[in-house]
Amino acid sequence: MKARGVLLVMLGLALLLNTGCKRQSGAGGSFFPASDQVAGWARTGDIRTFEAADLWKYIDGEAERYLKAGVQRVSTADYKFQNKVDAVVDIYTMGNAEGAEKVFQSEPAVDGKPIQLGDAAGLSSQSLVFRKGACLVRIVAFEGSAETQQALLQLGRGIDLRLAR
């Protein structure tokens, strides 16, 4: 009876962990705001995910840097701001927060400024990069305008909120 009870608890735990993993592995999708969940931003494409072994198909030789830092996967989606500015959001899930920090720190600060977002963030005229826990987020706009920086920040905040959940 006692053994059965232990077995049931173990089964229950296994189920919970499995759900957690699935949620985690599916979380890449939930990190991406749907259209109009962040003012002015519409998601214009499907979310694509590349696991670590296939990361090179997305970022070629740059994959080595992420692999050394313990990347697990990247999820990416296209966005459009006010039907004018196209952008892409990449969310890298690293093995741990140290991995995210390692990649973030490896990128030199050129024409950008640090800002308060996530655990650390840098904003330039057409891109926003921030890390939060084990996640590294890069948002790149393909055109620059007076509104682009603020728009990037809004989208970044929207993603940051989702990462905190």
Partner: protein
């Protein structure tokens, strides 16, 4: 590197003759010797690997989109300077013949923002057709069809149109092609569809190789490029370009240097990119890669970044490509004539 400003042939010859007189050679023999020396120098310059950099500061007008007519004009200027011709069509008829199938190996890995420019490809296709190549004998290609579509290329297979698709539509050869450290299956687009290859890479730095320009663009031709990134992609890049299917078909490199990147490549990061508004053309891919490397280093210095050597990623593959075992071109600046137009 010797730089010749204004590569107009007549101008150049005029300068040579003027120079012969200005040398102040005394007497007939002296004058002849000076003229001979000038001719030898001219011959030496013409015998060098020529890399043409054509630039148009107004390529995008006042906006961000490349102007198609200006791109065509830029391409013409680059080709005329490379082949020493006054008429753009003379350059293309020198390069291709009717009946040939021409593959344009583009680079779309960087995604939007840092891929082979659509207007450039359109300009090349226009000139190829004027040179007698049928539209459906032109294949614009890279590794993945989705990647091509993602950056704005219109996928097309069949019909009387310029063809555009990825290797994923036709697959790779079953047999490995081997040379040195490389053993790879080649895209059937290269092996079965094209008998001429025009390389259309983008001017970018690379996290591993240091730079990725003409020679590394051939990584998009094989099924296993991920295997060839250790050690700064060296000697893999050079060995890959030795494969006969690549070496015998490659006729020209037209490097898209309209938007280039100096850090964080090969993906697009706007904070590390700049609007260079230029094309680089050459028939020597090693010389072109060497020249592109210098451009990237100058930009890095301007931005206060370390050299690629200082960042532990100097592009050693360039020297390998030029060495006695490969001889894919030259990396000796004394043997490279950079012509800016």
């Amino acid at each position: 590197m010797s730089a010749i400003r204004s590569a107009d042939r007549r101008d150049f010859l005029k300068k040579c003759l003027t120079g012969a007189v200005v040398l102040g050679a005394s007497g007939k023999m002296g004058l002849l010797a000076a003229a001979e020396q000038q001719q030898q120098q001219q011959g030496a310059v013409l015998a060098k690997s020529r890399v043409v950099i054509a630039r148009d500061a107004m390529l995008r007008g006042v906006g961000t989109t490349v102007d198609s007519r200006r791109m065509l004009s830029l391409l013409d200027r680059a080709m005329q300077a490379l082949f020493d011709r006054d008429n753009p069509m003379e350059t293309w008829t020198k390069l291709v013949r009717p009946g040939e199938t021409v593959g344009l190996k583009v680079n779309v890995l960087g995604g939007r923002g840092l891929s082979s420019n659509l207007q450039l490809i359109e300009a090349i296709c226009e000139r190829l057709q004027e040179a007698g190549i049928k539209a459906n004998d032109i294949v614009v290609w890279d590794r993945g069809t989705d990647e091509l579509e993602h950056v704005g290329f219109h996928v097309s297979t069949g019909g009387n149109r310029v063809q555009c698709f990825g290797t994923d539509r036709v697959d790779y050869e079953q047999e490995l092609a081997m040379h040195g450290s490389v053993g790879s299956r080649l895209s059937k687009i290269l092996t079965q569809r094209c008998n001429v290859l025009i390389n259309v890479p983008v001017l970018k730095d690379h996290d591993g190789a240091g730079v990725t320009i003409a020679l590394k663009n051939m990584y998009g031709v094989i099924h296993n490029p991920n295997k060839y990134h250790p050690n700064g992609c060296n000697p893999y890049i050079a060995d890959l370009n030795m494969l006969p299917e690549i070496r015998t078909k490659m006729r020209l490199t037209i490097c898209d240097a309209t938007t280039a990147c100096f850090e964080g490549g090969p993906g697009y990061k706007p904070e590390y990119s700049w609007k260079n508004n230029a094309l680089m053309v050459s028939q020597d891919p090693v010389a072109l890669d060497y020249t592109g490397w210098q451009i990237i280093e100058r930009k890095r210095a301007e931005k206060g970044l370390k050299t690629l050597e200082g960042d532990s990623r100097a592009p050693h593959y360039i020297a390998t490509a030029a060495d006695a075992q490969h001889r894919l071109g030259t990396n000796d600046p004394r043997s490279i004539a950079v012509v800016e137009v």
